[in-house]
C-alpha cells in the first residue's frame, strides 16, 4: 500500500502506439481542422443549452444554470474490457441488495461476524423504520451506480457504490445523442453499442417491483424535490423518456391504504415512486418533521404494502464509505463468489492503527468523509499544501470515525480537448445497474473527466467535465 507514483495509464496510447480501440478516433482528431473543432464545440454547447441540461453547484452561488463542460473526445472501451466490468458491476449490485435485505431482516452477516454490528446499526443511513419489511422482490437499491477508476490495462477499482439515487445518467444519454448528431460519420465507422435502451429498462425495472396490492399496469412516478434542485433537469428528462409523471411532494397525498396524485381528473393512485429525495425528507411523519418536500404518511403506505419506494428507505447503509470496505466480503458471503472488481485499499480512521497511519501519511493519501459525497469535504494529499493538510489532520483527530483514507490512485488518462489540441486528462466511469426482477446494465456509463491538468477530482461540482463513453461491439 505504498503511495509511490506509478506510471499513469493512458487510455489511448501504449507508448507511442495508438491502441486499436482508439484508432478511428485518432484519425478523426487529426483530420479535424481547428476551426471545425471550435465550431463543433460551440454547437455542442448550444445543443446542451437548448435542451436545458444545466447543473447547479451546491453552495457556490453564481449561475444556477451553468453547463457541465462537455468534452467531445469520447472514452472508448473494447468489448473484452467491458465484459469484465459488466460481470463485476452486476455482481456488486446483487451483493449490495442481498446485504440490504439481510441487515433489515435476519442480519446473518452480522451474526456470522463478517461485518461489525455497530457499523451497520449505528450508521446514520441505517433506518430503524425499514426493519422487518421486505420490499417487493426483496430489492432495496434499484439503481446502483458504481464508480470505477482504471489504473492499468486490466486494473479497475471500485471507488464507491451509490445505492440511493445516483445521478448523471441523463448525461450518459445526452452525451451520446449529441455526439451522434454532430459526428454521424464516426458512428458509421466504429461499431458502438447503443445506450438508448436505458429508459425502457428503467421503466421495466420499476414496473417489476410494483406492490402486491397493485393490479394491472402500475402507475409509476418520479418524485423530485423541485425545479430548484441541481438534478431537476435529469428528473424531468427521465420522466419524459419513460412517459411517467414527474411529481413533487405537494402533488401526492395519502388516504386510506394508498398514495394518490392530484390530477385534473381527480386523485389517481400511485404504485411505484422513483424518488430523488433523501430518506430524511420523504415523510415528515416518520423522519424530519420539517420536511416540505415529502409526503406525510408515505412510509406507512409503503410499510403496509400500498406503494413501492425506489430506492427503498434505508438503502443508503450499503453505500456508506465505512461499509464499502466490506463489499468484497458481502460478495463472498451472499453469492459464494470471488469479487470480480477490486476495492481500493482503504484505511478506516475509526480503527486506531489505521488512523495513526493515515495521520502520518496524509500528504500521500486521499481522505474522504464517511458520509460525504460530491467531492466535498475531501483532502487530496499530494495536491494540498501544508496548512491545508494540518487543518485537515485536526478534523480527523477530532472525529476519526467520520473519515476513511485511500492511496492516491494513478487514475487513467484519456485524450481530452484542450487549447492546444488534445492532452491526457484523468477520468473515472460510472455505469448504472438496474435491479428489479432481473439485473440489467446498458453497455456504457458516464465518464467524468478532471479538466484541470493533473487534477484527480472529476466531480462536476469541482470543475469536472463529461465525455461520451463508447463500448465497442464484439
Amino acid at each position: 500500500m505504498s503511495a509511490t507514483k506509478p506510471a499513469i495509464f493512458n487510455e489511448m496510447l501504449n507508448g507511442e502506439q495508438v491502441r486499436s480501440a482508439y484508432q478511428n478516433l485518432e484519425k478523426w482528431y487529426r483530420s479535424m481542422p481547428a476551426e471545425l473543432r471550435s465550431l463543433k464545440q460551440n454547437e455542442a454547447e448550444a445543443l446542451f443549452r437548448r435542451v436545458g441540461i444545466t447543473f447547479a453547484v451546491y453552495g457556490e452561488g453564481g449561475d444556477p444554470e451553468r453547463l457541465i463542460p462537455f468534452d467531445m473526445f469520447p472514452r472508448v472501451m473494447t468489448a473484452e474490457e467491458w465484459r469484465k466490468l459488466d460481470r463485476g458491476v452486476r455482481q456488486r449490485a446483487a451483493a449490495l441488495n442481498a446485504f440490504l435485505a439481510d441487515v433489515y431482516d435476519r442480519r446473518e452477516i452480522i451474526r456470522a461476524g463478517r461485518i461489525p454490528e455497530h457499523l451497520v446499526t449505528n450508521n446514520e443511513a441505517f433506518e430503524k423504520a425499514a426493519i422487518g419489511f421486505r420490499p417487493p422482490r426483496g430489492v432495496f437499491s434499484h439503481i446502483v451506480g458504481v464508480d470505477l477508476v482504471r489504473t492499468g490495462p486490466d486494473q479497475f477499482y471500485v471507488l464507491e457504490d451509490n445505492c440511493r439515487t445516483p445521478s448523471g445518467v441523463s448525461y450518459m444519454l445526452q452525451n451520446r445523442e449529441i455526439m451522434m448528431r454532430m459526428f454521424p460519420q464516426l458512428f458509421m465507422e466504429s461499431r458502438i453499442r447503443p445506450v438508448d435502451g436505458y429508459a425502457g429498462l428503467l421503466k421495466k425495472t420499476l414496473a417489476s417491483v410494483a406492490p402486491q396490492k397493485c393490479q394491472g399496469e402500475p402507475n409509476i412516478v418520479i418524485l423530485t424535490p423541485g425545479h430548484f434542485n441541481s438534478a431537476y433537469y435529469e428528473h424531468s428528462f427521465l420522466a419524459d423518456l419513460m412517459g411517467v409523471e414527474l411529481v413533487e411532494g405537494q402533488d401526492l397525498f395519502v388516504e386510506g391504504d394508498f398514495v394518490w396524485m392530484k390530477t385534473t381528473e381527480g386523485p389517481r393512485k400511485v404504485d411505484v415512486i422513483y424518488r430523488r429525495i433523501d430518506d430524511a425528507f420523504i415523510d415528515p411523519l416518520c423522519f424530519r418533521p420539517d420536511s416540505m418536500l415529502g409526503v406525510p404518511g408515505l412510509m406507512s403506505v409503503y410499510r403496509s404494502g400500498g406503494v413501492t419506494i425506489c430506492s427503498a428507505p434505508g438503502a443508503g447503509v450499503a453505500d456508506d464509505k465505512a461499509i464499502y470496505t466490506y463489499v468484497p466480503e458481502m460478495i463472498r458471503f451472499y453469492l459464494g463468489e470471488e469479487p470480480i472488481l477490486e476495492n481500493v485499499p482503504t484505511w478506516q480512521c475509526a480503527k486506531e492503527d489505521d488512523c495513526k497511519y493515515v495521520l502520518e501519511n496524509l500528504s500521500e493519501l486521499v481522505v474522504k468523509e464517511v458520509h460525504g459525497s460530491g467531492g466535498y469535504g475531501m483532502l487530496v494529499g499530494p495536491k494540498s499544501d501544508k496548512s491545508t493538510i494540518e487543518s485537515f489532520a485536526a478534523k480527523i483527530r477530532k472525529n476519526p470515525d467520520n473519515y476513511i483514507a485511500q492511496p492516491t490512485l494513478a487514475l487513467s488518462a484519456c485524450p481530452t480537448f484542450v487549447e492546444e489540441g488534445i492532452a491526457p486528462r484523468h477520468v473515472d466511469l460510472r455505469p448504472y445497474c438496474l435491479v428489479g426482477e432481473t439485473i440489467e446494465l446498458v453497455p456504457g456509463g458516464l465518464t467524468r473527466v478532471a479538466l484541470k491538468e493533473g487534477s484527480l477530482v472529476v466531480n462536476s461540482s469541482q470543475g469536472g467535465g463529461v465525455k461520451d463513453t463508447w463500448v465497442l461491439a464484439e
Binding site: G52, H227, F237, A239, E245, D251, K262, T264, G266
Partner: protein
C-alpha cells in the same frame, strides 16, 4: 394530467398575456407623450398607465419622479414591479421550466430564447434602447411564443388549460383597460363626449391594436357606444370580453368532453357567456359602465377560482 402541471401551463399563459398587456400600455403611454397638449401634458397619462396596472404607489415610493425614463424602467425592466415585462416574462419562463416536458421544443425555445434576449436587453446600455424597440420586441416575443404553442402543441388538456389561462387573463386586462379609461381618466362626468374624451377613447383603441378593427366594423365617428360594443360585445374582436369568454368556454367544453364529465367550471363560464350574448350596449350604459365592468371582473375571477377548485387543486370537494 397532474394538477400542478395544468396549473403551471395555465399560469405560463396568463403571464405571457400579462407581459403583452404591460408592453401595450407602455407603448400607448409613450406614444401619447409625443402628443403635446393632448391631455394636459404627459404626466397624468403616465400616472393613469401605472394606475391601470395598480402599481402607481410602489412606483412613486421607489422613483418619486414620474418621468418617462423612470416609468420605462419600472414597466419594462424592474423586477420589483411584479407586472413589469421582465417580471412577467421570467414568471412565464419559470412556470414553463417546471413543466418543461409538457411543452414542445419550439415552445420552450421560444420562451427560453425570448428570456435570454430580454436579459441581453437588460445588459444593453439604456441610451441605446428606444422605447418602441422594447415594446415591439415584447409584442413579437409574445406572438412568437403563442404561435409556437398553437402550431406545435398537442391539442390535449394541457392545451386547453393554457388557453383558459390566456383568455381569462385577457378578459381581465381588457375589462381593466376600459375601466381605467372610463373611471380613472375621467375625473368628472362632464368630460364624457368631450374632445378630451374622444382622444382618450382613441388611445384605448390604440392600446389594443383595435383602430383598424374599429374602422372595419363600425361606420362613422368614434363614439363611446361603438367602442364599448367592440371591446365588450363584439365576438369577432379577439380581445373583446365576449370573445375571451367564448374562447374559454370552448376550452372548458373540450375538457368536459375529454374527461367525460362537466363540472361547475363549465356552468359558471357558460352562464357568463349567455349573459354577454344577451347584453346590449344600452343596458350596459344604463347599469353604468364601471359597475358593469366590476361585475364582469368579479364573475371572470369566479370562473378562474372555479377552474382552480375543480381542476387545479387535484382534490375537488
Amino acid at each position: 394530467m397532474l394538477s400542478r402541471t395544468a396549473e403551471h401551463l395555465y399560469w405560463m399563459a396568463r403571464y405571457i398575456e400579462r407581459t403583452e398587456t404591460t408592453a401595450r400600455l407602455l407603448e400607448v403611454g409613450a406614444r401619447n407623450a409625443l402628443l403635446p397638449n393632448a391631455t394636459g401634458g404627459y404626466r397624468n397619462d403616465w400616472e393613469a398607465v401605472l394606475l391601470a396596472k395598480g402599481t402607481l404607489e410602489p412606483f412613486l415610493e421607489k422613483y418619486r419622479e414620474t418621468n418617462q425614463r423612470n416609468i420605462e424602467t419600472w414597466l419594462f425592466f424592474d423586477s420589483d414591479n411584479p407586472s413589469s415585462v421582465y417580471s412577467c416574462l421570467s414568471a412565464a419562463r419559470e412556470n414553463a421550466r417546471v413543466v418543461r416536458t409538457a411543452l414542445t421544443a419550439p415552445v420552450w425555445d421560444a420562451i427560453n430564447g425570448s428570456f435570454q434576449e430580454l436579459q441581453q436587453l437588460h445588459r444593453t446600455e439604456r441610451s441605446k434602447l428606444m422605447v418602441t424597440d422594447l415594446t415591439e420586441w415584447t409584442l413579437r416575443a409574445c406572438q412568437l411564443i403563442r404561435g409556437a404553442f398553437m402550431s406545435t402543441q398537442l391539442r390535449n388538456d394541457g392545451y386547453d388549460f393554457s388557453g383558459i389561462g390566456t383568455t381569462i387573463e385577457r378578459a381581465d386586462n381588457t375589462a381593466r383597460l376600459i375601466d381605467v379609461k372610463y373611471y380613472v381618466l375621467l375625473p368628472t362626468v362632464n368630460y364624457v363626449g368631450s374632445g378630451l374624451d374622444q382622444s382618450q377613447w382613441a388611445l384605448l383603441l390604440q392600446s389594443m391594436t383595435a383602430q383598424r378593427a374599429f374602422n372595419w366594423s363600425y361606420q362613422g365617428e368614434i363614439t363611446a357606444a361603438k367602442i364599448a360594443h367592440l371591446l365588450i360585445l363584439n365576438r369577432r374582436f379577439p380581445r373583446s370580453l365576449r370573445a375571451c369568454v367564448q374562447w374559454y368556454c370552448e376550452h372548458l367544453d373540450n375538457l368536459a368532453e375529454s374527461y367525460q364529465t362537466a363540472t361547475a367550471a363549465q356552468e359558471v363560464a357558460h352562464k357568463l357567456l349567455d349573459d354577454l350574448r344577451a347584453a346590449t350596449v344600452e343596458e350596459i350604459f344604463e347599469e353604468g359602465l364601471h359597475e358593469f365592468l366590476a361585475r364582469f371582473m368579479s364573475r371572470n375571477a369566479e370562473v378562474a377560482t372555479t377552474v382552480h377548485e375543480v381542476y387545479l387543486s387535484g382534490m375537488p370537494t
